[in-house]
Amino acid sequence: MNEQQQETLSALFDGETSEFETRRLLDELSDDDLERWHQYQVISDASQNKLENTTFNFSVVDAVAAAIADEATPVADNASTAPVKQSWFKPLVGFAAAASVAFVAVLGIQDSQMVNPGFVADGNVSVSQLPINGDLGLSTVSGTTAVISLDGDIRAIDAQKAQDAKRLEHYLQQHTQNAAFNNGRGLMPMARMNTGE
C-alpha cells in the first residue's frame, strides 16, 4: 500500500472520499492490505485511548452498505449480468470482510480479557457473523464474514436482524417489568417502563 493509498483509505474511514475514490481504492487494494491497515489503525488508536471512537466509526459501515445497495439492484433485476458482477463483487466482498474485521478487531482488543467476546459495543446490530463460541482471531472473522456476499443472504440477515431486535426489546421489557414489580427497587424501574414511544 503506497502513501497515497493510505491517505485515501484514511479519508474513506473518515467518510471523506468520493464514490470514484472509494471504488478506485477498492480495486487497487488487496484484502491483506485492508486488514493490515486496520490492525495498525486499531493499535495506534489503542495506544492513544481512542478505541471508543474507532468502535463507533459508522462511516465504514455506511460506505459498505451504500456500495452494496448501489450495486446490488441491477444484479437482482437481471441474472444475465452475473459476469459483470464478478468485476466489482470480489473487492466489495473483500472490503466488507475488512470492514467487519475493523470492528471486530477493535473489540478483540477491548475484550481481550473475555473468554468469548463477540459483541458490538454500540446500539446497533452487527453485520459480522460471529462463530459460535469462536475465537475472534482475524483469520476466523475474515472467513465467516464472507456470508455477506450474496443478496439473498443480505436479505436473510436483515430479516434476522429485525427478529433479533424485536426479541431483544421483548427481553428488555421483561427485565424492566420484573425489576419494577418484583424486587422493590422503587420508582426508577417503574419510570423505565415508559419508553415514551
Binding site: D111, I157, Y171, T176, F181, N194
Partner: protein, 332 residues
C-alpha cells in the same frame, strides 16, 4: 470453572472522583462523614415505605424525558400508591397493600407480579452487602424541588456497577433526585421530583384516574421457572459480579414453545437478567443495545448438541453484561 476478571485499561481519574474531591474540599456546607452518608442512604430506603407523599417527577434517559405523578400513603400498616404515566399511552400503576395492578384504557398488556414497592425498598434488607461494593460520601447541600436536600455520591468499588448521585430530603429522608452516571461520570439517567409534598395524600390522589379501565393482574405473568423445560441444574453462571444475588422472576420467554430459562440477579440497587433459550436461527449474529443505563446483549452458544441464545439485560456496564453472557455454562 474459574472467575473471569477485567483488568483496568485506563488509569485516568474519573470526572466524578474529581467532582467528589472538589466538593469535599471547597464546599462551605457542613462536612458529613461517610458513615453519616450511609445512614442517610439507609434512611432514604425506609422513608420511601413509611412516609406519606405526593408529587410530580420526571425521568430523563438520553434525549428522552417522561413525566409522572405519584401518591404514596401508609394505611393500616400497608402501603398504598398510585403512579400515573403522564406521557405516551395512558397507564396507571396502583399498589393496594401487597398487590399491584396496572390500569389501561386498552391496548398492550403490561404484566407484573406481586411484590413490594417503594423507592429503594430493597436496599435496607441488603445494606451490609451494599456497603461491601459501594462507598457513600456527601457532596454538600442543595435545593431541589423547593426542598433542602443533601447530595450524596454513591461510588462503586469495582467497574461492574454504575455510580449514583442522590439528593435526599433533609426533613423526610425521601429521595428527591437521583442521577445514574456512567463509568466516566457522565449522566445516563436522571430521576427528578419537580414538586414534592409531604403528607396531605387524599383518597382521590390514590383512586384510579382512568375511566373504563382494564385491570391486568400482575400475578398473571408466566413464571419462567415453572414453565422452563430446561433442567435448571444444567445451567450455571461461571462468574457474576460480586454482591449480586439471585431474585425471584416472573418473566415471559420470547417463544414459550422452545426451551427457555430466565434468572434475575440484584445487588440491591442494580439488577440484571439472564435469558437462555433454544434457537433455530441460522444467522447467529451477536447484537447489543444500550438504553440509558440498561445494557442488553445477545449471543449464541452450543450446548448439548443444540444452539442456545444467551441474552443478558441489566443496569450494568455493557462490558460486564458481555462478561456475564460469556460465563454461562451448560453441564450435561
Amino acid at each position: 470453572m474459574h472467575c473471569l476478571g477485567i483488568k483496568s485499561v485506563s488509569m485516568r481519574i474519573k470526572p466524578w472522583v474529581l467532582l467528589a474531591w472538589f466538593a469535599s474540599v471547597s464546599s462551605a456546607a457542613p462536612s458529613w462523614a461517610g458513615e453519616q452518608a450511609q445512614q442517610l442512604i439507609e434512611k432514604m430506603s425506609v422513608s420511601a415505605r413509611t412516609q406519606d407523599f405526593k408529587g410530580y417527577f420526571t425521568f430523563e434517559r438520553g434525549r428522552q424525558s417522561t413525566s409522572y405523578f405519584v401518591a404514596h400513603k401508609v394505611k393500616d400498616d400497608k402501603q398504598h400508591q398510585r403512579i400515573v404515566f403522564m406521557d405516551g399511552q395512558p397507564m396507571e400503576i396502583i399498589k393496594d397493600g401487597h398487590s399491584f395492578q396496572c390500569l389501561h384504557p386498552g391496548g398492550k398488556n403490561i404484566e407484573a407480579a406481586h411484590g413490594h414497592l417503594g423507592s429503594l425498598g430493597n436496599l435496607n434488607k441488603s445494606k451490609a452487602k451494599l456497603w461491601a461494593y459501594y462507598t457513600a460520601e456527601t457532596l454538600g447541600e442543595q435545593r431541589v424541588a423547593g426542598r433542602e436536600t443533601t447530595k450524596i455520591l454513591l461510588k462503586p468499588q469495582d467497574q461492574h456497577r454504575y455510580p449514583f448521585v442522590f439528593n435526599v430530603d433533609n426533613v423526610s429522608g425521601l429521595m428527591v433526585k437521583m442521577v445514574v452516571l456512567d463509568t466516566h461520570g457522565a449522566p445516563m439517567e436522571r430521576f427528578h421530583f419537580v414538586n414534592l409534598e409531604l403528607g396531605n395524600v387524599s383518597e382521590k390522589d390514590l383512586a384510579p384516574g382512568i375511566k373504563d379501565y382494564r385491570v391486568v393482574e400482575h400475578g398473571a405473568a408466566v413464571d419462567v421457572h415453572d414453565s422452563a423445560r430446561v433442567d435448571t441444574d444444567h445451567w450455571q453462571l461461571a462468574w457474576l459480579p460480586g454482591g449480586f444475588e439471585q431474585e425471584t422472576t416472573a418473566m415471559k420467554p420470547w417463544n414459550a414453545a422452545l426451551e427457555n430459562k430466565a434468572f434475575m440477579y440484584s445487588d440491591g440497587l442494580s439488577a440484571f437478567s439472564v435469558f437462555i433459550e433454544e434457537s433455530s436461527s441460522e444467522n447467529q449474529a451477536s447484537i447489543s443495545k444500550q438504553l440509558g443505563s440498561t445494557a442488553a446483549i445477545s449471543h449464541y452458544m452450543q450446548a448439548d448438541g443444540k444452539v442456545y441464545l444467551i441474552t443478558v439485560v441489566g443496569e450494568i456496564p455493557v462490558m460486564t453484561a458481555k462478561q456475564i453472557a460469556s460465563a454461562v455454562r451448560y453441564t450435561p
